[in-house]
């Protein structure tokens, strides 16, 4: 069971990494492209470029990355593996 917990912890760290990535993506595009004068904005599909990249493109990109990461680094561990030592205690 210890191994399962270790794996779960590793996956939690990866998740936080992805979360940080999304934060950076969101911030860089929103403020990098959107801080200037609205008169000088460029547009993609009629939307201001900052908005297009941070909001419209952001979540599909994130989902795609998740798809890859989950397949590469997340392990299919059993969730109800009986643990010999624990068996007595869980009954209380």
């Amino acid at each position: 069971m210890k191994k399962a917990f270790r794996q779960a912890d590793r996956e939690a760290l990866i998740t936080l990494g992805l979360y940080a990535f999304f934060f950076v993506w969101w911030t860089v595009f929103a403020f990098g492209l959107g801080s200037g004068d609205p008169e000088e904005y460029s547009y993609v599909w009629g939307l201001p470029a900052w908005f297009f990249y941070s909001c419209v493109l952001g979540y599909p990109v994130m989902s795609l990355i998740l798809w890859v990461v989950v397949r590469r680094f997340f392990v299919d561990i059993p969730l109800d593996a009986p643990d010999e030592e624990q068996h007595g205690e869980e009954k209380k």
Binding site: M1, K2, K3, A4, F5, Q7, A8, D9, E11, A12, I14, T15, L16, L18, Y19, F22, F23, W26, A30, F31, G34, S35, P38, E39, Y41, Y43, W45, G46, L47, P48, W50, F51, S54, C55, V56, G58, Y59, P60, M62, S63, L66, W67, V70, R71, F74, V75, D76, I77, P78, L79, D80, D83, E85, Q86, E89, E90, K92
Partner: protein, 489 residues
């Protein structure tokens, strides 16, 4: 306008039938088996239902009515803010998912309070959690009902009370009868309804505004602030925007209604799938609804209250029959939040309080049929109370609702996260963190103390973390049993 009622009623009946069907899938179990069946659906959710139920219980009236309403007033900056919630599903599942699933099975947990009791072995923690759940959920449910009844009134023209009866009774009934399986399956249906509604509403707005480019240019000529990240008149300063990364970002790890879902899925694969699907779907939903709110301003400028934008768009842009179909979107968002909270309040009363304190955790003292009847009656009673309170909402509940979201995070965030990832976290620390968190949050919010645009949740989280750390020195060290249960050594 009567014609709008036909699809709406049909939808409510469909929800009820689906709930009944789901309930029949449940296996007949005894004793503690019943509890796990009724309150967590026998831990059998697959990826799609898991993703949908997390999204549906998270997205509420505020994402479908309130949020687009603010977006109407402030522009694209508010959509940017809403998109902070995109990671909700993958963050909850990725950080808590597997540990919750494994531990939930070991300790037979159906609520977050169960989990916290197993971790801290403290009655004070259980009582505080239960009070927080009962109080904040009751207030939120009433607020959701009110929101739903107002949308119904705006779209159909029927009185507020009629709408309240129609969908209030539906949601209370199917939750009480079907338990978790009914909630999860209807959440999935409601999620799909929300998705379709958001697409139709957005496309209707873009068409009415003469295309996306035209809409944006119209907004720009009204007020250039509407198309900047800081919003119209700079109403969304950067400190506020970034504090939402706590309030609706990392802080969601402390929301019992979404984190509880981590107990209920079938296997690792369901969780992996749900992380990907959930992110795509919630991003889509948030973007479409909030963008519809913003663009709605180009089509219908001059609404007195932003909250009216989504009902008004549905009413003005869609033919009456279809208005009835798509008002189901906001109602679905509301019902799927209420059903989850209702069941959790009931679980809290039955499992966290009655079974733990009256039966001393020994479910063999009571027959499965009796516990079943009690759970059903309890859910029904709580639902009816909330329903009745919504006719003439008491000021106190309306007031509490203002703190419900942040308050839940203040109570649950650190006890959950540190309980899982800090071996030395003990009960005293957890209690200090809960009390200090709520106190600071309420004081800052009630006192309207200016924090330079920073949301009250940010200092709240810092103070409750400090309180945890300080309280932890005074507490007793964690027992070996708990360490073994939670870390496997």
């Amino acid at each position: 306008m009567n014609v709008a009622l036909v699809p709406l009623t049909g939808y409510l009946i469909l929800t009820l039938l689906l709930a009944l069907w789901a309930q029949r899938q449940a296996s007949k179990n005894t004793g503690s088996g019943f509890i796990e069946e009724y309150f967590i659906g026998g831990r059998a959710m697959g990826g799609f239902v898991l993703a949908m139920t997390i999204i549906a219980s998270y997205t509420s009236a505020s994402s479908f009515v309130g949020g687009p309403g603010v977006a109407y007033k402030l522009g694209l900056g508010w959509v940017l803010l809403a998109m902070i919630q995109v990671p909700t599903t993958f963050l909850t599942l990725g950080v808590l998912g597997k540990r919750f699933a494994i531990l939930g099975r070991r300790i037979h947990a159906v609520t977050i309070t169960d989990f916290l009791y197993a971790r801290y072995k403290s009655d004070a923690v259980v009582i505080l959690c239960s009070v927080a759940v009962l109080l904040f959920f009751a207030a939120s449910m009433v607020a959701q009902f009110i929101g739903g009844a107002r949308v119904f009134q705006a779209v159909t023209g029927y009185p507020y009370e009629a709408g309240l009866c129609l969908f209030g009774v539906t949601v209370v009934l199917y939750t009480a009868v079907g338990g978790f399986r009914a909630v999860a399956v209807t959440d999935a249906l409601q999620g799909v309804v929300m998705l379709v509604a958001s697409v139709v509403i957005l496309f209707a707005v873009v068409r009415a505004g003469g295309g996306m480019e035209q809409c944006i240019q119209t907004l720009k000529s009204m007020d250039a602030g509407l198309i900047t990240p800081s919003g119209a008149g700079g109403a969304i300063p950067a400190p506020m925007l970034f504090s939402f990364w706590i309030l609706v970002g990392l802080g969601i790890l402390g929301l019992p209604q979404t984190t509880q879902r981590c107990f209920g899925y079938k296997d690792s694969k369901s969780m992996h799938d749900a992380m990907v699907m959930g992110t795509l779907i919630i991003g889509f939903l948030l973007l479409f609804m909030h963008l519809a709110g913003v663009l709605g301003r180009a089509v219908m400028p001059g609404l007195t209250s932003g909250d009216l934008i989504i009902p008004s768009l549905i009413l003005e842009l869609l033919p009456p029959f279809w208005a009835g179909v798509f008002v189901a979107g906001p109602l679905a968002a509301i019902m799927s939040t209420v059903d989850t909270m209702l069941l959790l309040v009931s679980a809290s009363i039955i499992k966290d309080l009655y079974i733990r304190y009256r039966l001393k955790d020994d479910t063999s003292k009571i027959s499965a049929r009796k516990i079943g009847r009690m759970s059903f009656c309890c859910t029904l009673a709580v639902g009816l109370l909330v329903f009745l309170a919504s006719f003439n909402p008491p000021d106190l509940l309306v007031w509490i609702n203002l703190f419900a979201f942040g308050g839940l995070e203040a109570v649950f965030l650190w006890p959950i996260v540190l309980g899982m990832y800090w071996r030395r976290a003990n009960a005293t620390g957890a209690v200090c963190s809960m009390v200090a968190g709520v106190a600071v949050f309420v004081l800052l919010s009630v006192g309207k103390i200016p924090l330079g645009g920073v949301h009250a949740i940010v200092p709240t989280c810092i103070v409750s973390l400090l309180a945890f750390w300080l309280g932890n020195f005074r507490g007793r060290p964690v027992s070996d049993d708990v360490t073994r249960l939670f870390w496997g050594d």
